[in-house]
Symmetry: C2
Subunit: 144 residues, 2 copies
DNA sequence: ATACATGCAAACATTTTGCTTTGGC
DNA sequence: GCCAAAGCAAAATGTTTGCATGTAT
């Protein structure tokens, strides 16, 4: 009955294959990210009920960094002070963010940038290209 | 012979009209931003040769914040720890950033998101919508 | 004269690193 | 047993605020 669309075990297998050890903190991070509805900060990850264990912020930081290097996790900027992270599962997502209250909504749209990306890759010579598309505005609630 | 496509005087007029005072720090910020080739951090702004005067980081912070509130300046996330800022002159720009060396390139493309933006505004009810589109990859130099 | 802007100093939040200990393989 | 990972502590970075002083209007 988990909300997660990805099996944690599968993720752990991928992590193991890439040289990471199966630790409680790793499982906890993956568990949280796999059920997350939206990108989360390190703090949010640590304090999520699904995290279960308690561990040092530095540990989570290094863990997420390793996951990011292995491209299992993706980093998102938004405009908040802290970086947000999400699983790089399947297709990439675009976001709609309220400038005032900071709420984040995942956009259910066909991303219009895919072909442009290829073109840019060719013209620039950049490799491993990917993009980040975010819409900022004021949500209905904050307009009042 | 300035690289700037915007007259500083014009900018100052806009600022005055919106209630800001004509101070040395304001002029310095606008001068730097008007000639900037790409979005800059507060530090970069302060240490730019065009800045001319010396002033406290807190001053620049508050100044840029006011300019941002008045939508004269636009904030860009990139993925660096520090926020980047640029003038909101004319049309919006998209960027190509190297994940490794952090170099920023302004993309000279027709942004493909304009009409999508309208659609999202209608569907979500968000107002003052705008977007940020960035491409991340590894530049030629960093691929070696 | 008044209110806004600045400088200085300090608090904050988050990220990042060093070093020792623990524990997965 | 070995090496990666965790814990703990501290530094580094960048943002943010409070308060007294200066200055544009």
């Amino acid at each position: 009955m988990s909300k997660s669309s990805v099996a944690i075990d599968e993720l752990i297998t991928v992590c193991s294959a890439s040289g990471l050890r199966r630790t409680a903190a790793l499982e906890a991070c993956l568990r949280v990210l796999a059920t997350a509805e939206q990108p989360m900060t390190l703090q949010q990850i640590a304090s999520d009920p699904a995290f279960g264990v308690s561990c040092d912020p530095a540990t989570i930081y290094r863990l997420i960094t390793r996951l990011e290097e292995r491209r299992i996790v993706r980093r998102i900027g938004f405009h908040s002070r802290a970086a947000h992270y999400c699983l790089r599962e399947g297709s990439h997502q675009d976001y709609l963010i309220c400038r005032d209250c900071g709420s984040v909504e995942v956009l259910d749209i066909a991303c219009p940038v895919e072909h442009l990306e290829k073109q840019i890759a060719e013209e620039s010579g950049f490799s491993d290209l990917e993009h980040e598309l975010e819409f900022f505005g004021r949500c209905l609630a904050c307009q009042k």
